[in-house]
Amino acid sequence: MSGLDAHLVVARGETFHLDVELEVPAGETAAVLGPNGSGKSTTIAVLAGLLALDAGHVRLDDTLLDEPSSDTFVPAEQRQVGVVFQDHLLFPHLDVLGNVAFGPRRRGRRRDRAADVARQVLHRLDIAELATRRPRELSGGQAQRVALARALAASPRLLLLDEPFAALDVASRATLRRTLRDDLGELAAPRVLITHDPTDAFLLADRIHVIEGGRIVQSGTAEELARRPRTPWIAELTGLNVIMGDARDGVVTATSGHVLHTAERTTNGPVVVTIGPRSITLHTERPTGSARNSWATQISHVERLGDRARVQVTDPQPLAVEVTPAAVDELGLAPGASVWVSIKATEIDVTPG
């Protein structure tokens, strides 16, 4: 198989145990999504070769990188596994060009060749003008892009993105998410994105693996996860409704053809709209309140999850709605029932996509 094939088993003390299986085909991005302490950092460490497995294996394309049962372990410096760290970890004593040239240089390129490779990558990422800056002279977003350039310049056979946006402010996070997709576009290697932020996973990953307590509790596309969350944590995370569409002056036309009114009026063009499931209200009759968005629809699915219930509505715009179990009973919410949906324009988040 071309790509990553890994079964990661790490036993650390009595309390923590990682047991995760990951398969990522070449050119695809898998997200490992989980709360803090779920085993995400350990996953990065064993894939990068900074920590050895206790059992299982890591195979990249046809190369076995780690397999305790056959006493195989390829250390980090021989793996060609690139890592973009959360806090970039650029070398403070080198300028941007020196940082990006570090990988090619250490992998045996001559000094001038390594610099050429670095310049090409910086140019491709459209940050050539940063070449002579020191890391401390970069903004958080710039530093993170340089860190990506540094990892890419080393021609990784697997790219690990360790919470790449967590240390950034909201504005740079949105910009970086968008550029990251373009930046990774040409990379043939499989990528693993480690994150606790479902938006990262939804926007960047082809497949999402939700990890809790060292184990994958659910895998699937964003849509699959949102529709059938298997644990309350996933329900909470993926309950977010993600809708692709096209914005013009505060009106978003979703790919479903449905039109949403948003409070955000300055963003035009392709957008990603997110709506929290608790920001949506269900009514048995046509609502008359201040909500700018309301339409009639049908319930396709109702699922009770302890102290809340998730209701799935269908055409014209499929959405996940979260209500209390009491509301389910009082309004008689059941598959097939007709309801009205209402959403305030201010509850709709618009991110340029």
């Binding site: 990068a48 980090a76 410096e77 070398f91 570090f102 990988g103 250490r106 990892a151």
Partner: protein, 265 residues
């Protein structure tokens, strides 16, 4: 005119004692400068005995600094990065010369490397080489007292270095040696330089261990501080001139290290 009092006056007792403390440093320096025969200085400083001492001191202290660098950086790295049983014992041992009276250090060196010493006896029998009372004995005594300064400075710098930066280098294809050479070493560069200057200054001023282990032979083991001590009995002017040289060197060191150790507010 009114004076605006923004803060209450500092306690008189503290200010008084602080002034006495400052005088403790200022007065001897003033005494030395006041006693300096400025006009005869060029002649005094070019006397053969003085030139011998100056030359020997420079050679031995620089060799000791170099030796501290070659031995001290790996020692600091092992202490900071390798977890081995007895690490804290080794760390204590390394810093011992900083608190040990140098005379005791010199005596200890004799018991180890002297003609009848632990290692010295074998060394003498096998090669005929004798460390004590030779220039190499001076270098050894100097290194003994200087090395801890370098180790402590460098180890502190290594402790403050985020090991994940070194991990990042490893993921980019750098082996352990390359990580050390191209990431660790440049990142601790300023501390390394400071440790080196400190070690060199300490070696230059070394007296007790040197005179105990290497003796006091002009041209061979009589360094500047030893020369100051000897001439103080017979030739005050020369002693003062030599002292002035040492003060000048110390001052230069302080200026070089000023950003690191003082004036950084």
């Amino acid at each position: 005119m009114t004076t605006r009092r923004t803060q209450s006056r500092p306690p008189a007792a503290l200010v008084g004692l602080a002034a006495v403390g400052a005088l403790l440093f200022a007065l001897p320096l003033a005494g030395l400068l006041g006693r300096t025969p400025w006009t005869d200085l060029p002649d005094l400083l070019t006397e053969p005995a003085v030139l011998d001492a100056l030359r020997l001191s420079l050679i031995t202290s620089l060799l000791a600094a170099l030796l501290s660098l070659v031995l001290g950086v790996p020692l600091a790295w092992v202490l900071a990065r390798v977890d081995f049983p007895g690490r804290s014992a080794v760390r204590a041992l390394v810093t011992l010369p900083m608190v040990l009276p140098p005379v005791v250090g010199g005596a200890a060196l004799l018991f180890a490397f002297g003609r009848q010493g632990l290692l010295g006896e074998t060394l003498y029998e096998k090669t005929g080489f004798l460390l004590p009372y030779s220039m190499w004995g001076v270098v050894m005594a100097n290194t003994f007292v200087a090395l801890p300064f370098l180790v402590i400075t460098v180890e502190g710098a290594l402790d403050n270095l985020d090991p994940r930066v070194e991990q990042a280098a490893a993921t980019l294809g750098a082996g352990r040696w390359a990580v050390f050479r191209y990431v660790t070493l440049p990142m601790i560069g300023p501390s390394l330089a400071a440790g080196l200057v400190l070690a060199w200054a300490r070696a230059l001023g070394e007296f007790g261990a040197t005179i105990t282990f290497a003796g006091n032979t002009q041209g061979r083991t009589q360094t500047l501080p030893l020369s100051v001590f000897v001439t103080l009995q017979s030739d005050r002017d020369t002693a003062v001139a030599l002292s002035l040289v040492l003060v000048a060197i110390s001052f230069t060191v302080l200026v070089v290290l000023r950003d690191r150790w003082w004036g950084r507010r």
